[in-house]
């Protein structure tokens, strides 16, 4: 199967700190991938490089057969708006906009008419169990409801890849399960790929595959039996 997004030998430093030291990762359409690792392992930096938020110092990121790591700011912004969707831990909804306006935002930014965008957003409220909450401001939603609104906003533009960074980090287990179920079901229906960065095994268990990041590199879980060196 061909990868929709592939990172090869990514390197990225912040000052003297090497966050990525030759990280490889690829994800296929329809695949849900979890990226786990201890704090400071480089997992968020890897996500940001693959999502064209950060530019790697070396290595390549290929999306749909095209290198995107060296694109200019404007092209990267376009890519993020059009082809990628994002769900973060919190603080991502615009507080002054209602829930339905938040969901419609990506379509409005893409130039769709307000009426069309709001109508499309409307469909997501029933689908994600949010019926009746369209007019609420983010401050009037529970944490779980706000995350479901964020999932709808990430998916409304039919992105090819969704990036989720600790998407349930601020939620209790039950609300976190609900958000993950909705996210995974919705992206599968759209045949999108998802990369979920998490430190929670329970969240990773919703993925098809989990990779572990340590010291800025990706460990695919292969084990060399009988190797003699300790550690």
């Amino acid at each position: 199967m061909k990868a929709v997004l592939e990172a090869v030998q990514l390197r990225k430093s912040f000052g003297v700190t090497e966050a990525l030291r030759g990280a490889d990762l690829s994800v296929h359409a329809g695949e849900v991938m979890a990226v786990m690792g201890p704090s400071g392992s480089g997992k968020s930096t890897l996500l940001h490089c693959m999502a064209a938020i950060l530019r790697p110092d070396a290595g390549s990121v290929v999306f749909d057969g095209r290198r995107i790591d060296a694109l200019g700011d404007r092209q990267r912004t376009q890519l993020r708006r059009g082809a990628f969707g994002f769900v973060f831990q919190f603080g991502q909804l615009v507080p002054e906009l209602t829930a339905i306006e938040n969901v419609a935002t990506p379509l409005l930014l893409a130039g769709q008419r307000r009426r069309t965008a709001i109508a499309a957003a409307q469909g997501w409220f029933d689908r994600l169990g949010l019926a009746g909450l369209q007019g609420r401001l983010p401050g009037e939603l529970s944490g779980g409801q706000a995350q479901r609104v964020a999932v709808a906003r990430a998916l409304i533009g039919r992105p090819r890849v969704v990036f989720a960074d600790e998407p349930t980090g601020a939620l209790d287990t039950a609300a976190g399960d609900d958000v993950m179920e909705l996210l995974v079901d919705a992206v599968r229906q759209q045949d999108a790929a998802v990369i979920v960065v998490t430190h929670e095994p329970r969240v990773a268990a919703f993925a098809d595959r989990t990779v572990l990041v340590q010291d800025g590199a990706v460990d695919d879980g292969a084990i060399e039996v009988g190797a003699g060196a300790a550690g």
């Binding site: 095994p201 329970r202 990773a204 919703f206 572990l212 460990d219 084990i223 039996v225 190797a227 300790a230």
Partner: protein, 173 residues
């Protein structure tokens, strides 16, 4: 079971008498209760019968004869296989996982790689349970949750152990 593999690890370092094995075991693994001589000789007897250990010398002493034991090639292979093979998650893995880490460190084998393989094995089981849970009734889901939370606790320990390997290795060797 872990006692047998601990004895194999110690015998891999050097040939030993039963008494030395008991003393080394108590010192190195700090299990909180001393290993009985009965348990040592029972395990040694089984290992000799299984061909993983052989008697390489018998020395007369003041009391009974003292046998010297050595690990065989098949003992090394068994030890290696046991260390490398991840365990299926269940609620009472604590002692088994702890001893695997310690024995890997003591014998200079790749403890981190073993921990990572175990981590992936646990994660795979969590994926299975999570899949089953999504199709389950609320009652069945609650039962599955119990197992999921236990595996999650193991995973936290597996992650933590990796972060502590350098300190542990310094103590274990």
């Amino acid at each position: 079971m872990t006692v047998s593999y601990a004895l194999l690890t110690l015998l891999e370092e050097s040939e030993r008498h039963g008494y030395d094995l008991k003393r080394a075991y108590d010192q190195r693994f700090e299990t909180g209760r001393a290993l009985s001589f009965g348990a040592v000789y029972r395990a040694l007897g089984q290992l000799v019968r299984g061909g993983q250990v052989s008697v390489v010398g018998i020395e007369p002493g003041a009391g009974p004869e003292r046998k010297r034991y050595a690990i065989t090639e098949s003992g090394v292979t068994d030890l290696q296989r046991w260390l490398a093979e991840p365990e299926n998650p269940h609620p009472h893995l604590q002692e088994l996982l702890f001893m695997k880490v310690m024995l890997a460190l003591v014998s200079g084998r790749p403890a981190k790689a073993y921990l990572r393989a175990q981590q992936q094995h646990h994660l795979a089981r969590m994926r299975e349970l999570t899949g089953a849970r999504r199709e389950a009734t609320a009652t069945a889901a609650l039962r599955l949750d119990y197992e999921l939370f236990h595996i999650e606790a193991d995973l936290r320990w597996l992650q933590h152990a990796q972060a502590r390997l350098a300190d542990l290795a310094a103590e274990a060797r």
